[in-house]
């Protein structure tokens, strides 16, 4: 198989305007990947499938990955001039007053910056005709909240059909151009995306108003959060009369 740089060069030569970057992988298995920009993704995928030297005709695996916002703390040494009250050169003036002097001071400051998060989908391609692989390509969304769309590769490889549905279901990446994008493992009315790193389990998965302390407390907390108007009635009804 060609190296990842050769494949990148081949893509850029064949598709003008395609933006492809190599993402290196420090693991010993050295499965480096190609980061493909959205506008040319379908063209790149079709090229990878149909080019006679590459012929990646078999899409093995599609996985979603969630990269939340990361807060990165960096320690920086800062030198600045500060005014300090010091004793004079010969122990201060005779009347005991001190003098102000400007000195350089070096301190360590912690800077925090937030690296914006994104959602990613990773495709592992193999060639059945030429028996080589894997080639890893990945696409990223702009952010994790409102711009989570990326082009679907199902029109090129049908093997992505159910797997992209799964990524949509569990991560919330919307694949434009997918023929049948519905939830697959969770039920249709489900709201959240369970595989995201910041997912919180609902507290009423098996809501059952039994008068046991812990369950009752959770149920009350839940109904207080969701139905503030009915809280009093629920508490009255649930409180055991003694």
């Amino acid at each position: 198989m060609k190296t990842i740089e050769e494949i990148k060069a081949a893509i850029e030569a064949a598709i003008p305007g395609a933006t492809v970057a190599v993402v290196s992988n420090p693991s010993p298995c050295a499965q480096h990947s190609l980061l493909v920009a959205h506008p040319s993704a379908l063209q790149v995928a079709t090229f990878l499938r149909d080019n006679p030297e590459l012929t990646f005709d078999y899409l093995s695996n599609v996985s979603g990955v969630d990269w939340p916002d990361r807060e990165i703390a960096e320690k920086v040494k800062v030198t600045r001039q500060v005014t300090k009250t010091v004793d004079g050169p010969d122990g201060g003036k005779p009347d005991g007053t001190k003098i102000d002097q400007t000195v350089d001071e070096t301190v360590e400051e912690t800077h925090k910056r937030v690296e914006p998060g994104f959602l990613e989908s990773v495709y592992h391609l193999y060639s059945i005709a030429l028996k080589h692989g894997p080639l890893v390509i990945r696409m990223r969304t702009a952010n994790r909240t409102d711009q989570t769309t990326m082009p679907s590769l199902t029109p090129v490889w049908r093997g992505a059909e159910l797997q992209e549905r799964e990524v949509f279901d569990l991560y919330g990446i919307v694949f434009s151009g997918h023929p049948d994008l519905r939830r697959i493992l969770m039920w249709d009315g489900f709201k959240d995306f369970p595989m995201r790193k910041d997912y919180v389990d609902p507290d009423d998965f098996e809501y059952e108003p039994t008068p046991h302390d812990e369950v009752l407390k959770r149920a009350q907390a839940h109904s207080a959060a969701n139905h503030p108007a009915t809280t009093d009635a629920a508490q009255e009804g649930a409180a055991p009369s003694q």
Binding site: Q31, N61, H124, G159, Q163, L185
Partner: protein
């Protein structure tokens, strides 16, 4: 009979369905009234909790939508909250017929991620156990297929009799019949004794007679041929494009066996052949599985003969405080049901940052509708059975 044209007057152009040129051309017979049937989730033929929403025109299927998720427990999320090793017992529960293959696939992915060496003796043990798993999986699959065809009990009991012997071997080695939890990163858990090897040799010696008996009973059976030949045809171009793997892919005539392509483990040391189908129908899938059992016996004989002495665990393998360096890796094996892969991302911590299972059972169901269109509703059960799925792996 031309296999590509279904009986009756419904005409379905399967060629038009390659890629996404939807919808298929269906000319209804009679008054064109459709009946929608939900097959499952508690239908005995669905091998667990799985539903097919089928639209029928008389007896013919004009639309079929699989519905998943009844057994979903988000295995991947659980694994991301657990250390690498503590996910090993969970992999048993994916495809619970083939826990040892699942163990191997996961161990292989982690070993690739950390460049971990595996001792010679363990490599042989893994091959022996994986091929035993393949034989009992294929035997049971064929048994279930025949059960669905109406051969009530007999073939399934023949298959389970043999499976029992293999499961007894697993039990005496690993302590469990199905949830084996046997492989470790850089080795495996316990060594085999000479008594176990003797017992294994005896089971392997009895297997060819079992396959002969099975074939004499089934392969030229008139009912089996009538129900299976030309039914549920999957064309090679669609099979490759839809990511189909394992015996289903090879039954469509595509020569792709990961044991031969990747040479993972020590499969390059054994002589065996890859059986291929010709028509891609149910009968070919049945036949490919029978022939794969024969090839597995050949591999087993070689592996048990050549099993070297030595340690079963790499002494340099890290067990406590196991933290792979940051990076990612995709490792895959030829499991009995197809390509089973694990995709792992490490961030340097004790838990995987991302843990993904590539489930062959789920992806092989991509083409279920394509194979079923135009067939009768009784054939849907057979086509579904010939895919060979386990819901623990489909839904994870």
């Amino acid at each position: 009979m031309n296999p590509s044209v279904p009986m009756g007057s419904s005409v379905i152009d399967t060629e038009k369905r390659e890629g996404w040129n939807r919808p298929p051309v269906v000319v209804p017979e009679g008054d064109g009234e459709l009946l929608e049937v939900a097959m499952g989730p508690h239908h005995p033929s669905t091998h667990g909790v799985f539903r097919m929403d089928v639209a029928l025109d008389g007896e013919r299927v004009v639309r079929l939508k699989p519905v998943f998720g009844y057994l979903h427990r988000n295995h991947e999320k659980i694994a991301e909250g657990a250390s690498y090793l503590s996910s090993m017992p969970y992999t048993d529960r994916l495809d619970y017929f083939c826990s040892l293959s699942n163990n191997w696939a996961y161990a292989l992915a982690v070993e690739k991620l950390t460049a971990q060496e595996v001792p010679e003796r363990t490599e042989y043990l893994r091959v022996i156990l994986a091929e035993f798993t393949r034989i009992q999986n294929h035997a049971s699959t064929i048994g279930f297929l025949l059960q669905e065809m109406g051969a009530s009990g007999t073939p399934l009991m023949y298959a389970f009799r043999e499976r029992e012997k293999i499961l007894d071997l697993f039990e005496s080695l690993t302590g469990s019949r199905m949830m084996c939890n046997y492989m470790r990163f850089g080795g495996c858990r316990v060594d085999v004794s000479s008594a176990w090897l003797e017992a294994a040799r005896k089971v392997v010696a009895g297997l060819p007679a079992f396959v002969d008996e099975f074939e004499a009973l089934l392969s030229s059976n008139e009912i089996l041929m009538a129900r299976c030949q030309g039914v549920g045809v999957l064309r090679p171009a669609l099979a490759v494009n839809a990511g189909i793997s394992g015996p289903m892919l090879r039954a469509s005539g595509v020569n792709y066996d990961i044991r031969k392509v990747d040479h993972y483990g020590i499969y390059d040391r054994f002589k065996f052949r890859v059986p291929l189908g010709d028509h891609g129908d149910i009968y070919d899938r049945y036949m490919v599985r029978v022939l794969e059992m024969r090839e597995s016996i050949v591999i087993l004989e070689q592996a048990i003969r050549d099993l070297p002495a030595g340690p079963i665990m790499d002494p340099k393998a890290k067990i406590r405080n196991f933290r792979p360096k940051p990076g990612e890796c995709y490792g895959r094996i030829e499991a009995p049901k197809g390509e089973l892969g694990f995709y792992l991302i490490s961030d340097g911590g004790p838990n995987p940052y991302r843990y993904r299972v590539r489930p062959p059972s789920l992806i092989n169901l991509t083409v279920l509708e394509d194979m079923c269109l135009g067939q009768s509703v009784a054939d849907v059960v057979l086509i579904f059975g010939s895919v060979d799925i386990v819901l623990g792996e489909v839904d994870r």
